[in-house]
Symmetry: C2
Subunit: 349 residues, 2 copies
Amino acid sequence: MKDERLPNDCYFHVPRFRIAPLPRPQLRRDPIIDRPVIISTDRLGRPQELVTSSELPRPTVCPFCAGNERLTTEPTYVDPQQGPWRVRVVGNTFPAVRGASDPLPETAGLFHSVAAAGIHEVVIACPQHETSLSRLPADHLADFLRALCARMSSLLRDRPELYPLIFNNHKAAAGASMAHAHAQLLALAVVPELVQRELDSASRHRKLKDACIFCDMIEHEQRDGARLVLQSPRFIVLAPFASRFPCELWLLPRHHACHFDKLSGIELTELGEVFHTVLNKLDRGLLDPPYNFVIHTAPRSAPEADAFHWHIEFLPRLTGIAGFEFGTGIHINPVPPEQAAEYLRGIRV
Amino acid sequence: MKDERLPNDCYFHVPRFRIAPLPRPQLRRDPIIDRPVIISTDRLGRPQELVTSSELPRPTVCPFCAGNERLTTEPTYVDPQQGPWRVRVVGNTFPAVRGASDPLPETAGLFHSVAAAGIHEVVIACPQHETSLSRLPADHLADFLRALCARMSSLLRDRPELYPLIFNNHKAAAGASMAHAHAQLLALAVVPELVQRELDSASRHRKLKDACIFCDMIEHEQRDGARLVLQSPRFIVLAPFASRFPCELWLLPRHHACHFDKLSGIELTELGEVFHTVLNKLDRGLLDPPYNFVIHTAPRSAPEADAFHWHIEFLPRLTGIAGFEFGTGIHINPVPPEQAAEYLRGIRV
């Protein structure tokens, strides 16, 4: 939805800084280190652009609430198809990527850019104005996760060349611009570097050891126990050894599986329960912190895709990201993951 | 200084989450992608640990102000040595790194960690309680930059194996925990990945083209003009082609120079003026935004060090860092750098 309180002119931060919209978003590469960045004027005009405010404005009309469906685009997925919906997927009104891929990059000397092609959707988690996923019951979260899988599957059937990143921003301090609980599905024309590095490492490890590096890590963590937070028959949650954030948690399937969207119904039910427990441990243990979660799944068309092991990373945002992190790429975390795991194991939900 | 309002127990975020201090900070490597992270319980207990508050508390007694020198460690640098000081460098009371390097990593299966060795200092920019560098006159900023150079030089004479990162966090939203204007010098036992990638690229380009990639970029930007913000006889300021942040700016010497700390007196005077102009353009153009700056200099002991071109990156923090960025490593920037440059060129200071 367009926020009608905003003028039609695009501006950034101060009214005299008017931005001329680009015809389409661009994926540019840094000429020195090849680091990609998405330049997307479409993102301007979101209800909340300033990280400095810690509270999200309560919209007079929330376009994600039941009854206001006219304020969004036609849904690409609805659960269930008949009767009142529980989960609903729509286009993002302020997409970071859109459209089809360019055949060739635009080049000027050292500078290269291509269209930031792809699809950017919003997965509305519930019909009522609930601002935290942690307050939805486990079976509702299973429906939410089922919607993520179904929409990812369907999108990859149409455009297997895209890489689908699912992510969630909880609260303004974690980058959220809408308070109503939702996740985002952003399918990109490039495999993100972090996923590519995981895939490369998994492929290398398989060649060398004939084993999955994630499975080996899980086995070590189960034996050691210090960073284990919880286990269910099919899933494991742990505080990763090199956690970037205090109380960072990874959720992984215990048995090797590369594609998130191939979860069965029975797995989704169990995952809904584990997901509910993780969110409520963070919520109760850290007083409803801002957080992000991201889902890493195998790139569909990569030849080594089956070496990958999908997982969800939960990233609580209670410490700032400062100059050091942006200057080095190295995070400073004041909380040892072993102590985070011990504390979170003790939080009853 | 220790903030005496805090209990002696270390805790994180909630009083019942008590943290046992580690004997020394650790540099851990992610077992999958080898991403380093610093785990440092010393960082707990800083006056402000929560990114969600946008205002820094005004301390009852500011340890950085003239008259309160007893609240800091013995200075490692004072400008000038006699009379009232203008710039003063002291140890960080909450260091992210400290001590000497380990001979060998601690290893358990896939998990490796070493002592996070190094030095972490605070460069206090002025004796009065000034909260913004932009309000210091150009000649005072030249003294501040001289202090950064002098302290970096002296540190590298003692420990040439360290990589010295200088960075600054302006305002809580950019990670600051102290309001009094200051920068930090964090010398690490590893070359940060972002610097290593710049160095690798510069070495490769020099081999292929017998030229500096930064110099080639500068030449292109001077010819093109669209991303140029200002030039002085010796320095250039531009909005980089693949800016991660709206109004990101890079300041570079126009003529090839690899080591920041080898600036001459006359160069420092001119840099003080350019630095003053950049900070005041950001301050006036974007209403005193939160920002970071970082200085990238050549790693002292690298064989290819002279292929490097030192520079300062200014990173305004007006958009949030959300799940997408942490899941992919790709920033989304809603403001095209060409429009940022045009806007900032027009801001009179």
